[in-house]
Symmetry: D2
Subunit: 432 residues, 4 copies
């Protein structure tokens, strides 16, 4: 976790204090369930709870250096603090019962933190899409001028993508909200499935259908894949900001704060560094997917190769994505939009984007499609080479004028017609 | 697509003939919708349909060499075959309207082919899990003998994972069942949203909420991620088969067919090559995920960088996974299981796996957990070093016998008790 | 292998005919070495060679269906064709002796085919870099106007990168030029190391230092990593072409051939589709790296999980890269450069890129660096906001004019000075 | 960086203190070179050096919050500490001159730290390979008993791989030992190439052939790819340890330290957790490769998307690999080897691995290879099914005894002959 890219809530969530506190919460939930099943003396958990133990991560890690086992070190420390009654904790359980159930609690919480941020991003995109419903802009495919659209449509596209991501993230959270308290190889040899069910419910989780020693790792692979898809969506937005802010395009730019310096060498520069940063961060979130997939095929009832991977990617990928979503929201909110530049870039195309309307009008007159295409391309190419205005060149082409009156040709050059469905499109994204 | 790893249905699905036939189906569906909207003369589509055109991929590719544009080449060829009425096709559409809608049709069909195979795998796993409900087996964590379970539980774990995969695949299919007929930059400049809706419905698809020139690629990224998760689940099963078939384990093995040869040098060998192959193939399916994620951030309203990626990964990843599922099903069905070897391996552990039961019994007598752990470990280590039977060493340890009577100790060594919940676990997987 | 992206030489190289021919070449080289060691009757190999066998891949695959072992199927077929003397082939060898040695022969040849293409790309870059040594161009960082350079410098940067790639590819070829004829587990149980050495030398290979049943897969991982680095270099060039060709930049573009059509909807478009395609293909080549790395950790003396991976990535990654290099060379050679557009874009920046020269001049007068920075930024921001020419605004700022005379200020605005080292830089790339 | 997996030297290397100290070293080296070129007053660098500044990372980060630019924040802080003479630092330079040159210094040092560890691993492998030159062991392909080898040969294979990795790492270090002090877009607009050359030489670096604003990122991609190949080699070794330590194999195991606990539930377990951990960590190191490759294609003269990626992967991948190499060395050194278990596993195969010798003997008598194969397989299958000793079954088969005398058959069953080349093989690895 790079502190630079870690929002405070994520730093707290993934701290060793939260980790051990969560372990204790799992042990106590299991203990209470065992009390109800008369496996453990009643009142044990509440007595330990009443002690309000202050777990000391440093001490746990010290013990771990000897026993080389993190959960045993933790239990030893709890016994140091809570006295003999702590021996009832962890009864019939295996380390993974604690670890995997805790990981589920933490990932569910991480997902919630991400969902809040993703909702905020959606709201920001909604506001700006609504604001720019009718701001004409040049649509570009291949980086080349294509046909007009509105900036609102573009933002609505990002909004629709982010809403899909929100649905995916919620589904991934549901998949990961699964723990296990089923003993060494998942057979409930020293427990009973009802204990697991009760304990997990208290923690907001469901039992794994069939666990091995661990919760199945396909759930985690699905979770991390989802994070990467969200990150890719943010990357798409960030890539577009970078394009809009290019010197030659200049249609929108990141808010430049007072005191900010663009370059140590060139005082005049205002660079889209936040968006570039988001592109880099998305590579990091994406890099968690393959290791998570490689973690699935554990040997027999489990090996521990997934553990180091998850120690890294669980905090890193969730925190980075949390940071990305915050930064993306702030870029959306602060984005300085230049409608006049958008108009200027539209104008510069010399109405070439009406070529399709002309072609369709020609086809309507009975001309085969390919002939119409070639007829329009002829004038377009001349316009591109500076031989005149596209509209005029078409009008002067006898093969065109023979088919289309001056009026009919003029009707092909209508921006309002081209953007007639903007509201309908944007509303589809805003309202779903 | 390696023919070796491509089931026939997938070879057909991804043939150029199917591709162009699907393009035509999309054009005709769009044409019919335009007829209803009076944009195109009524009866055009049905007249072309009636011609039962035989598209010639070779001819289309020949034209493409000149025009360097696949859809234009296709349309030119259709016009060659169907005559002037074909000029009404593709009206107001852009290439991606055809390409992306067709890709959705093909991916939906690919998903269906995969789901059928995944269901077959689930059925095979169900049968074998049911068959081996009560076949005792050594559970292993870290490759080391742990506690007993049944082979049915192990298979039920794979079954539960595959059922989750099936649900994911259906969700991914739903996400990808989206087309677009919205024109050059998704603005319906020369069409109307109602035409898109009608045409797509005829193809079993929904419209993209907000399209650019293309359908958004986060959908495809989610689809390919899902394939990789399924493949990882198959890899987990295959890895376990490889372990079971190890010479020293010998608990189960792939069916060896008559005439098969294990090694060109060593006539005695029977190798789990099908399962090893599945492990390799899962790497290939997994390798499609990152490119699919990299495809998301297209520039502005689209660039075409995703196209070559999809030309490769769409046929490859779906076919490979189809092959994997067929092969996995056949391995499950043919798996030769050796219950007596499972029992022998269980026996060889010398009942060490009852150590936890003994430890819990000691804790019940009031001994702190860590002391109980160390007490049991003492005898276990001696047993491992060949100093006697674990059960006897414990009985002879005064620190144990002081707390547990011979009878009480004996009750800790009970396989039936350890496997008491096997049916309940297996039924959870079978019944969901 | 997508035929669309496979140059003919690679199609031949990876055909089943070439594969089996190479296997036979390996068997015969080994046979000859065994003849010299008197393990096999002298003249066997030359007699078989003299038969000029026409291997039939279809027949081999038919046999494989029964024996489920490719090399045994191959040997059976050779025996069918060459008669009883063929039984001397493969003596004391294991399948991998043939397969891995053949793979080395094929990868070495693939590398040679790639090197030829990479050299051609370097030559094309050299020519164009030399041609545009003194063509001024706007340097851009973050997509924002920075300082001037020349187009030749930019191309020289790509050239230098490609030359590094060529050196890496040669090193990777050397690493992969390793075979093994060491028997089942690499112990030469039925052979002698001298036989391996002689046979491999005849094939242009060296023996693996210590083989298991196979040649170690770190060599292949290094090879495929190298391909991905080359592909990334091509992607960098292609990305730049896409930027240069953007409508708003227009500094260079891919050659547009006669008859080519840019868009099915928009006749006026000329899209950088070749370069976009290269960006997509680089994702595919990159996707081979992780599977190749995952192939390294084979179990014990080998498992066969790497085999299916290599069946896919060896032909795919080498062919795709071969295609990429050809296409990149053709883009470089045909690139239509617009020096006047480059000059226009430079002019549009309004000399802001001389800001650093002004700042350094101010520092030379004794002003602290940060004060100088802020002083220059003040005028730059005003110029950006359209309040005047940068040069004039600076001259009119008393804090500047107090320190720099009008002449001194003028000397800061000198393009020739900014580009003084262009030749030196370009020559470093051309001459190494 | 997870402190759990970060050796102290790497924690120091990647601390913010070392980072800023390295920046200052680069600025001072550049300053000295500029003094010699009379661009800066003589003695500036040495005067600043004499002040022995104590840079305060916290203060720098505080300034960065306002200026949003790390190098400007750093320079401002240096000016705070060193007074007005510091304004001569960074003259004509751009941030990347400092950042990329510093990164090169740090990566070179990281590589040196890794090489030391890799050499130690090679030494440990050498010692153990030498120790077990003649310890017979069962060779396994596909996890199935194959032919005998010695444990020394196996370790020599890992040694040879690690030696190749060492050579690759040195080559990668050489590639990365490249800085740049060439100004905003690499044109030396305000400097001179000779200054760069002198300054970099003082830091142990060479100049980039043609830099953009940054050093070309293909160098870094090659560096991180190399780390992943080393990690994959460690993973291969760790995977084998896990196999050797399996309960059913039991041929070697990780040293179990006093006080260590294998499982919180099962006191008798001794798990290969260090090796499993190495397998997980290799996934993390591998995960750095694709982002590094994605960093290559920066836009124009650079964008800053690579920066966040490198902030994460440079410390993480190098530290993790450093930890892996230390841990692997300690596993090799402490590995508890059980030659008697190796012998027992060899014996258990019932001499089936001599099947190839028998087959070759049969071929020598004139039998076609495939007939010999089937003849031997017949007895082998019977032996596997418990119908007798392989050797006896062969002797009793008239098709065999007709061709091979009892003596001739006996000579096929000779372990010493099978291992005759062990020394030669091991020496190849030890001596290179």
């Amino acid at each position: 976790m790079l502190s630079r890219y870690t929002p405070p809530e994520f730093a707290t969530l993934w701290s060793s204090t939260t980790r051990y506190t969560t372990w204790l919460a799992v042990e106590l939930a299991a203990c209470e369930a065992m009390e109800e099943a008369d496996l453990v003396p009643g009142g044990t958990a509440s007595a330990i709870r009443a002690q309000q133990l202050t777990l000391q991560p440093v001490r746990i890690e010290e013990i771990e250096k000897t026993v080389k086992h993190d959960v045993i070190a933790f239990l030893t420390h709890v016994e140091e603090l809570a006295g003999p009654q702590a021996r009832w904790l962890h009864r019939g359980m295996t380390s993974s019962d604690v670890l995997d159930t805790s990981l589920a609690v933490l990932l569910v919480e991480a997902s919630r933190l991400l969902e809040v941020r993703l909702e905020a991003l959606c709201q920001a995109l909604s506001r700006r899409a609504d604001e720019h419903r009718h701001t004409p802009m040049l649509g570009r495919s291949h980086g080349i001028a294509a046909e007009p659209l509105t900036f609102g449509i573009v933002l609505a596209g990002h909004l629709a993508e982010m809403r899909r991501c929100l649905a995916r993230l919620r589904a991934a959270r549901d998949e990961i909200a699964v723990g296990k308290i089923a003993g060494a190889v998942g057979t409930y040899a020293h427990l009973d499935p009802s204990i697991e069910e009760r304990a997990l419910a208290a923690l907001g989780l469901r039992p794994e259908t069939v666990s091995t020693q661990v919760v199945a790792r396909d759930r985690h692979a699905a979770f991390f894949s989802t994070l990467a898809i969200v990150a890719a969506g943010v990357e798409r937005f960030a890539t577009n900001v970078r394009h809009w802010q290019r010197s030659e395009v200049g249609e929108a730019e990141e808010r430049f704060t007072v005191g900010q310096k663009g370059s140590s060498a060139m005082p005049h520069k205002r660079n889209p560094i936040l968006s570039e940063n988001l592109c880099g961060l998305s590579r990091l979130v994406r890099a968690a997917v393959v290791p998570a997939l490689e973690d699935v095929a554990l040997w027999h009832e489990r090996d521990i190769s997934h553990s180091s991977v998850e120690r890294a990617i669980a905090p890193d990928a969730t925190s980075l994505l949390g940071f990305m979503l915050e930064r993306a929201t702030s870029i959306v909110e602060g984005l300085v939009v230049y409608p006049e530049a958008m108009q200027r870039n539209l104008d510069r195309v010399g109405e070439l984007f009406f070529s399709e309307a002309v072609m369709l009008a020609l086809v309507s007159t009975g001309l085969p499609r390919q002939s119409a295409y070639e007829l329009v391309q002829r004038s377009a190419m001349r316009a591109i080479h500076g031989e005149g205005r596209f509209r005029d060149l078409l009008g002067a082409d006898p093969d065109v004028s023979r088919r289309l009156s001056s009026d009919a040709l003029g009707r092909c050059f209508d921006l309002a017609h081209a953007l007639a469905h903007a509201d309908a499109i944007i509303d589809r994204a805003l309202k779903t």
